[in-house]
């Protein structure tokens, strides 16, 4: 019954005291994880509304134009913060901490800390987003939330970070999996970034463009040292877990982790190429951005080789449809990003919608799609029941896949044209603006697809949470066990 190769693994220990059942761990983190999932989806829906408003205003500026609290600059910032701190961070707390708990092989302690932290996080963010719409925003990118709300965010984050380190410190078993390094690293990096940026830009502002250097070190590292490691941790866990076979090369994952850690945090300067800062800083940023090709290719090889020969199973798994879409997007968005750092490309793409498309390619097509996959895997195991509707999962997938593809293509084609035209001083600026409008309208259309996907997701989730008795649907996805084992479930 017990394969020999598992002798060292506490799960297969003959002594029940040491053995930690996955289901036990799942049960211990259930309330915290579900709290974070519900928060995340709430912010996802609110962020989607802000996104639709901003998207329509970008090509039809009179839309809701009389309302000061909805002016484009504010609603766009409310969208960004709702998604970055509301959707993304909450879903990281849900899925990332669940994976961490499972890999630390012990039922979690101090679940109360997580719940308190989560409540304060949401309160701080709500106050912050209202503050942005009300006119108190800072106009510092990715740090728009007013000063009166940010200490609460920093405090609640600290609780979560401390929990993560404690969970890791008191883990059982000898081995540490790659996902744990990524999660631990991200939990440590994010508060450092956040506190430094808040102090040096908002609370005790440094002089001149040092603010900008700090700003883009911070903002790019939210993508590279917070979102990316958490999404990679999720993909590294779920791809082999679902397919039932280990990751192709663990050695490559070590290489990938450390090269990401070294290079990613120098790359943020690429947001300031051509700007009023010393050239050596810009060059360092470009070099790091190009060196990022190394960890990206390494991760790409690892994921691709891990699913080789099992493409059918990938397609048949709701989780992996999303995760592999995300993993492929990671390779693509990163290679495009490295190219955007080259001066000749940057001369065209900087300041255009191309960059906006790139940002959504990363945060949505890569990070968000992987986290959607994480939710599809995690929820049945937490609640011990199936997703109610396979149809809604499919609508979710197609809505989001089609939506984000339209968005990225429209913004990057439109942005490229915009950049080429801006380089030509003969073309009047208003004409360039007019030429972007069809692409911006396509972006609004993509928003409809994404909204449909999000609604399907939210609907399915709430049905699963609140109509539990109606489940065991024979038509539902069999996410807990293989079809053959269905009859043997208690």
């Amino acid at each position: 019954m017990m394969p020999k190769s598992y002798n060292y693994n506490p799960y297969s220990s003959p002594s029940d005291a040491v053995k930690a059942e996955l289901s036990e761990i799942d049960a211990s983190i259930r309330s915290a994880a579900i709290f974070f999932v519900i928060s995340a989806i709430g912010w996802l829906m609110l962020g989607t509304i802000f996104a639709l408003l901003a998207a329509v205003k970008s090509h039809s500026p009179d839309f809701a134009g009389a309302y000061e609290f909805l002016t484009f600059g504010r609603v766009r910032s409310a969208h960004l913060n709702s998604m970055a701190l509301g959707w993304a961070s909450n879903i990281i707390f849900a899925v990332g901490l669940w994976i961490m708990a499972r890999l630390c092989r012990a039922p979690i302690q101090h679940k109360g800390i997580l719940l308190i932290a989560g409540i304060f996080w949401n309160i701080g963010l709500t106050v912050g987003v209202f503050g942005i719409l009300g006119g108190d925003m800072t106009s510092v990118e990715w740090l728009e939330i007013p000063r009166y709300a940010t200490p609460l965010l920093a405090f609640s984050y600290t609780l979560i970070g401390v929990w993560g380190v404690i969970a890791f410190r008191f883990r059982k078993g000898d081995h540490v999996y790659v996902s744990q390094w990524y999660i631990l690293a991200a939990l440590f990096w994010f508060p450092w970034l956040y506190v430094v940026a808040q102090v040096m830009i908002i609370w005790f502002p440094v002089r001149g463009v040092v603010q900008s250097v700090t700003n883009w070190w911070f903002a790019h590292n939210v993508l590279g040292l917070w979102f990316t490691p958490m999404a990679l941790a999720t993909a590294y866990y779920l791809i082999p877990k679902v397919l039932g076979r280990p990751i192709y090369s663990y050695y490559l994952s070590v290489l990938g982790f450390w090269s990401l850690a070294i290079f990613y945090n120098w790359a943020g300067i690429h947001h300031l190429i051509g700007g009023p800062i010393p050239v050596w800083l810009i060059s360092a940023g470009i070099v790091a951005s190009v060196m990022m090709v190394i960890p990206v290719i390494v991760v790409g090889i690892n994921h691709h080789m891990s699913i080789l020969g099992m493409h059918k199973q990938v397609w048949r798994s709701p989780t992996l449809r999303f995760v592999v879409f995300g993993a492929i997007s990671y390779t693509l968005v990163s290679l495009i990003g490295s190219s955007m750092a080259l001066r000749t490309v940057n001369e065209i793409t900087h300041f255009t919608h191309f960059t906006v498309g790139h940002a959504h390619h990363g945060v949505y097509a890569f990070f968000t799609m992987i986290m959607f996959g994480g939710v599809y895997y995690m929820m049945p195991r937490l609640l011990k029941c199936e997703w109610p509707s396979a149809g809604l999962i499919k609508i979710h997938f197609w809505g989001c896949a089609i939506g984000i593809t339209i968005m990225v293509v429209a913004l990057q084609v439109g942005g490229w044209i915009q950049g080429m035209e801006m380089k030509n001083a003969e073309i009047p600026f208003l004409e360039i603006v007019q030429n972007t409008i069809p692409w911006l309208k396509a972006r609004s259309v993509s928003g409809i697809f994404l909204t449909a996907g999000h609604c399907a997701f939210a609907l399915n989730l709430f049905w699963m949470l609140f109509a539990a008795g109606a489940l065991r649907a024979k038509e539902g996805p069999t996410l807990l066990v293989n079809k053959e084992k269905v009859n043997s479930i208690v």
Binding site: A66, V176, M200, N265, G274, P278
Partner: protein, 225 residues
């Protein structure tokens, strides 16, 4: 890699490396920048050292008064998210060719700003030298009409209207001298008997916009003839 202290060490140094290399170095290198005169002359004591010219104005100047208050409006309304404030050098993009400024922006141009608003999007034009392109009373009038509804002076623009910064009120006796003067027959003008007056917020914001000027050279960035 199972050892927590070791892992922590690596994770810490990875970020410390860039924090020192990017943040602290630029803080030291740029933090010591001061205002200066447009040209430097050799010092009397030591001819190899260049010093500021006695009695010449120092640049960049600090923004004060209504313009500084207007900057708060700029920040509150999120103007930065469509408008940049940095001019790139002549052979990197067409910023100078477009007339957006007489020379490129350099780090010293921003040292007197409490919040630097470089911006990363040009949905609208760069504003570093807006006060140079739209100056004086004509510039003031243009900017008020543009803010009230951009379509009045920039038809087809995607900039949102900021009519909420203006007050429409009944004309008493005579038209106020602050009232906006619309082009004849404009569809955006107020009804008969009404006038559009800028609120204090709009006045401050326009003063800020008009204060944005690169009409001075620096030793490291001279305006070409």
């Amino acid at each position: 890699m199972k050892n927590l202290p070791l892992l922590f060490c690596g994770i810490f140094f990875a970020l410390a490396f860039s924090f020192v290399g990017l943040i602290l170095t630029s803080h030291i290198q740029l933090g010591s920048l001061t205002q200066t005169t447009e040209t430097l002359v050799p010092s009397d004591d030591d001819p190899t050292k260049m010093v500021v010219v006695e009695g010449d104005p120092l640049y960049p100047s600090q923004s004060v008064g209504l313009a500084q208050q207007g900057k708060l409006e700029y920040i509150s309304l999120g103007c930065m998210y469509c408008h940049s404030q940095q001019i790139r050098r002549a052979d990197f993009g067409a910023d100078i060719d477009r007339g957006w400024g007489p020379r490129q922006s350099v780090a010293r141009d921003y040292i007197m700003q409490d919040r630097v608003l470089l911006g990363t999007m040009r949905t609208g034009p760069d504003l570093t030298h807006l006060g140079g392109r739209y100056a004086g009373d004509a510039g003031r009038d243009w900017n008020h009409l543009h803010l009230y509804n951009p379509q009045i002076v920039s038809k087809g623009s995607t900039m949102p209207p900021f009519a909420f910064l203006y007050e429409t009120r009944k004309i008493e006796n005579n038209v106020s001298k602050d009232a906006l003067v619309f082009p004849p027959g404009s569809e955006y003008g107020p009804e008969e008997g009404y006038e559009v007056i800028p609120t204090r917020r709009a006045v401050a914001l326009v003063e800020y916009l008009l204060s944005l000027k690169i009409n001075y050279s620096l030793p490291e960035a001279v305006i070409p003839e």
